[in-house]
Symmetry: C2
């Protein structure tokens, strides 16, 4: 435990970047005790000149505003933390850092989901590592768990609540009975949703994270473009209520399931049974249930975003690189995206699931037999039908729970039902998730 120090460079001094600076400054003594060395922040690259209080804790003389100056100032550093975000400038920074033989810590899920395989291979070529715990589920040590502990397992399935914005909105809809628009507006007011929430509410952000997790869990090469994705932005309060009535909660789930015939991957709002631990994950929290062949069901829960939880994960990675452990796992345990096998996905006709359906049906005799006939033609059988008494004729909501069927059969059945003259519009179809026994 000499007085060696470990020099690092930081790119980006936004919310998470300034959180990392805060940890490094305020917990310097703790990290020195734990590591036996000091961590020295040699340069912080911040493209905006006028970033104000966020850079207040950056040590004097360390703030730089262009990449060349940054790399010059960290010439003898071994570690770069990339928190710039986005896929252009960040990609340049990461490529350049790796090519210079520097380890990279990043929280950039979009970058890894799109360019992970290239960057991992580049890191390996230059004998350095990429650490990315903060890229999925913020402070939850999910990636480490897969790299280190669950490496002894064949992962059979994972189910994740990976977007705090969506989970906050769904919790408000479920617990307070607010509709989507109201819940979104309040989430924005309280800082749980961006001014432009598109990437969150459409499921895009969740599919980035699923691409990273599925690559690791199943040892295949996956990008977000491989993942069918629907969001919460079209979800109706009616379905939230019917879910509760049936004993379920609606959650935006990232799903990866492995069978002998292939993988199924998806991001969509799903019915989760109330007795599953995931069902009670509320507010902005994230959680992931992972089913390993030996370990059974494990669940990891925590804050999936926010300044300090994300900074916590970044600095955790930094400490593991600094002590030399992470590099070993990265180099030797071959569970990395760039070494994955090609993805073999199940077709829609091979993916089996149960469904919740809500139809707007004309309140006349014979309607049930007509839509159940349309389901029957696709081999789909009904487990339950629920129709509340209404006052008068016109269209009324009818809720159907099916037995197991395929994704393809349900799509075809929904087409058939939509074309019936006693049904108004296309039925709402939401997957009911049956997790493995574990």
């Amino acid at each position: 435990m000499g007085d060696q120090s470990i020099g690092i460079g930081l790119v980006g001094c936004g919310v998470v970047g300034s959180g990392v600076v805060k940890l490094l400054v305020e917990q310097a003594a703790l990290y020195r005790d734990r590591l036996g060395k000091s961590i020295e922040l040699r340069a912080v690259l911040c493209r905006r000149e006028d970033i104000g209080e966020r850079t207040a804790q950056v040590p004097t003389g360390k703030l730089v505003h262009d990449a060349d100056a940054f790399f010059k100032q960290i010439a003898d550093c071994d570690i770069v933390i990339e928190l710039a975000g986005g896929k252009t400038f960040a990609l340049d920074i990461v490529r350049r850092s790796l090519a210079m033989g520097k380890h990279v810590v990043t929280a950039n899920k979009a970058l890894l989901a799109a360019h992970g395989a290239e960057l991992f291979a580049l890191a390996r070529k230059h004998h350095v590592a990429i650490a990315y715990e903060a890229s999925c589920a913020g402070g939850i040590p999910l990636i480490t768990a897969m790299q280190f502990n669950l490496a002894s397992n064949q992962i059979n399935a994972l189910y994740g609540i990976l977007n705090g914005t969506c989970n906050y909105i769904l919790t408000q809809m479920t617990e307070q009975g607010k509709d989507y628009a109201t819940a979104l507006r309040e989430a924005q007011q309280q800082g749980f949703a961006e001014a432009d929430p598109t990437l969150d509410v459409t499921g895009g952000d969740t599919s980035h994270k699923l691409a990273i997790l599925a690559s690791m869990a199943f040892g295949v090469t996956v990008t977000d473009r491989d993942i069918p994705c629907s969001g919460i932005d079209t979800l109706k309060l009616d379905d939230i209520h019917f879910a509760q009535e049936l004993g379920y909660r609606i959650k935006l789930l990232a799903i990866g399931e492995r069978t002998d015939a292939g993988l199924s991957l998806s991001v969509a709002p799903c019915f989760v049974h109330a007795n599953q631990p995931l069902a009670s994950v509320g507010g902005p929290f994230n959680a992931v249930s992972i089913f390993g062949h030996a370990v059974g069901h494990t669940l990891f829960y925590g804050r999936g975003a926010g300044q300090m939880p994300t900074a916590s994960a970044v600095v955790g990675d930094l400490l593991n690189i600094a002590c030399g452990s992470y590099e070993r796992v990265f180099n030797q345990l071959a569970i990395w995206p760039d070494q994955g096998k090609p993805l073999h996905k199940l077709s829609d006709d091979q993916q089996m699931t149960r469904y919740y359906l809500r139809l707007n049906a004309l309140d006349v005799p014979g309607v049930v037999s007509r839509f159940s006939g349309a389901l029957g033609e696709e081999g789909i059988s009904l487990a339950a039908v629920m129709q509340h008494e209404v006052n008068a004729g016109g269209f009324v909501p009818v809720v159907v729970v099916t037995h197991q069927t395929s994704v393809g059969a349900m799509r075809r059945a929904a087409d058939r039902i939509a074309s019936l003259d006693c049904i108004n519009g296309r039925p709402v179809c939401i997957r009911i998730v049956d997790m493995p026994q574990g």
Copy 2:
């Protein structure tokens, strides 16, 4: 990735040991892919000659029955897995392995809780590592999370359900209304409790695990003898029901809390609010809520015992030692029991908490004022009093919820109350846990 192999020795071929053999045999190809090397089981030390089917998967010629033969057969191996259990033979094996410069993987919580500091120092002296993920909470990667990820945090508090037997019994009492004796008997019939359940139900096993976790979380030297401990074996169904009525669940919790003035550590049945994720951890599952200063609330959930979950953790450790990563963390990140500071515990008068009390009070006027007077003399104020109407005189249960007070004040108040002639016996006092905002 040549054809090098990594030779290992295994001590103990009981339930977990045979699970490890099963994983190593059945997943040999997976581990070779992930590690780039084969794992070769060179010797299995099993003291009983007639162990039968548990050793069926041990490769021919590898089973030995005495320690000398074992160490001879693994002379050129770098890793010993100790799954013998107990504190005598296992202590010899671990000392001998470390002294010979071999890394040790162990699931032996009792051994580490009692001799951890000595063994960690011995490992460091011989430049090897002890990996012990399986010692706490089975397949849940809790220790790795603290070593690797949460190293960036000051841990403020941890709350753990760490004994599956107790949690199974409590779940049966809560959900099925069974009394303790019945629930225990059924747990034994179903294999969730040992024939002699003493170590589990008295909280002893939980306190072993808390000693290990608290050492790591708070950077202090703790043994199980430092932890006041009470179990579930005296718990009455009445208290389970009153807890539910008040919006809580009773869980056997390992608690570690850090304040500027010192630590408080305890193992006891506690009230956990129903909206806390720990409250809904049912059956034989374990879970731990950890509150870090940066990461906030994280929770880890899974099977805390059982053959394959525990074997999963053991083999996870083995892979991390085999790839060279674990050793780096063990040697450099100083968050290990033997390097801990001395434990500074809060006194009973410094530990603040709320309480649930149940008294057997004579159903006569003036009783409430007498026991609330006894509480008042210790500065304890009442938040709620609940007494159900009963048919007739005699003793009736009265439930009290207090505001915050100290552990010491409550003990003295309970003494006062027990001495009142209108109260029958000593009141039941159960801590109500208020977890940090996180």
